[in-house]
């Protein structure tokens, strides 16, 4: 699943919903693949306000990407700076986590990711 999607995922455990450290989930033993996807500037600019930038920065660093700036780029930044646009496109849309685990820092539960699919079914003691 794309790094973009990771930005929208959190722990499935009910009691973690109110714990701030349950988001974002932390990739562990992550295996990444790169896709080649056509860049869509308008789409990225429209997406920006939907992205939790702080969480994305954490995810990017944990996946071994260079640190993101502390504040998100503005639409003007993206229009003016081809490299920033390109890097963001690569991180969000072209990078997929296909194997590994997503770990909740609150409850410690590890969600397996296999063949690009994260499994959020909970063992009965966590439901």
């Amino acid at each position: 699943m794309k790094v973009l999607s990771l930005n929208f995922l959190t722990c499935a455990v009910k009691t973690c919903k109110t714990q701030s450290d349950s988001y974002p989930l932390h990739p562990k033993d992550a295996e990444l693949v790169q896709d080649d996807i056509e860049l869509n500037e308008a789409f990225l600019i429209n997406l920006l306000p939907r992205i939790d930038w702080k969480a994305l920065s954490t995810t990017a660093t944990e996946l071994g990407f260079p640190a993101l700036p502390s504040t998100p780029p503005t639409p003007e930044d993206l229009r003016a700076d081809a490299k920033t646009l390109r890097d963001l496109h690569n991180l969000l849309l072209e990078t997929q986590m296909v194997e590994g685990k997503l770990v909740c820092a609150s409850c410690g539960h590890e969600y397996a990711v296999r063949e690009g699919i994260a499994n959020f079914l909970l063992p009965s003691h966590l439901v």
Binding site: F8, T10, A12, A42, N119, L121
Partner: protein
């Protein structure tokens, strides 16, 4: 809302080859009673494990988007939106919006169906509708098509709607489809006087049952699976949406199904 019983074309709701079933009141009440004892265990047997068993055959009968849902995705969703499809099945709605200007994530309780959706290149996760892994308020819209009717108590159906509402932002929309009780012209023939809680057979012809063929076990034998459904009465889905704390923005009937678009209530 009203529905026109005379204007139906052949429903695309179900696969071919299933017998129509008329269930007696006594049997249906026993269905409700059995489900009430342990809804989780009941749904495990009569929903989750069934979909795991029929996933391939089920998926092959699910390729045509419902017209209203397709028009919702194509015409009402703004570019740059993020959408979730809870109970995405084989992912048939994840690619309806073309042009790469909306990001969709699907989830389903059935690993086999999620695997099929993934094979089509979609971003999908295995998750239970009552324990969703989505950041609260993250989505512009949520689809939940033919899912809630598989939950066996009203409490769980309302809870599921509450969980969907939690996924969308302040002005977000939740589009829900459920099977209608009022479908007298469908081949199942249920109507207002029928029982709402039903076990509905899914017959897998022997030649569709690949697993059995491979194992050599049941070759040549049809297998019947029974899925639990709660058939919704007119107005019930709207009531449940309000009970979940949501506001009914729009509702209607399309080919044997009731649908509602819900959102957060204005005060929230």
């Amino acid at each position: 809302m009203s529905y026109s019983a005379g204007s139906h074309v052949t429903p695309v709701t179900e696969g071919k080859g299933e017998p129509s079933s008329m269930t007696t009141n006594a049997k249906s009440n026993s269905i409700r009673d059995a489900a009430a004892q342990s809804p989780e265990a009941y749904e495990d047997e009569h929903v989750h494990s069934v979909y795991e068993s029929i996933a391939g055959h089920f998926s092959s009968t699910r390729y045509k988007p419902w017209p209203f849902i397709a028009s919702f995705l194509r015409e009402r969703v703004a570019a740059g939106s993020v959408g979730l499809d809870v109970g995405c099945g084989n992912g048939k709605y994840l690619g309806v919006r073309e042009g790469g200007d909306v990001h969709m994530i699907g989830s389903d309780r059935s690993p086999s169906l999620v695997g099929i959706a993934r094979g089509r290149g979609f971003d999908v996760a295995v998750a239970d509708g009552l324990a969703l892994p989505f950041r609260p308020g993250c989505a512009d819209f949520v689809l939940c098509i033919a899912v809630i009717h598989h939950l066996s108590t009203r409490e769980r159906r309302v809870d599921a709607l509450r969980k969907l509402l939690a996924c969308v932002r302040g002005d977000g929309q939740v589009l829900v489809y459920v099977w209608a009780l009022e479908q007298s012209s469908s081949r199942r023939g249920w109507d207002v006087d029928s029982e709402q809680d039903q076990l509905v057979p899914w017959v897998m012809k022997a030649n569709q049952n690949k697993k059995d063929k491979e194992s050599g076990g049941n070759e040549g034998v049809d297998t019947t699976y029974e899925r639990f459904y709660h058939l919704y009465r007119e107005g019930e889905l709207e009531d449940d949406m309000r009970a979940a704390g949501g506001r009914v923005l729009e509702s209607g009937y399309e080919r044997d199904n009731w649908w509602v678009i819900g959102g957060h209530s204005e005060k929230s």
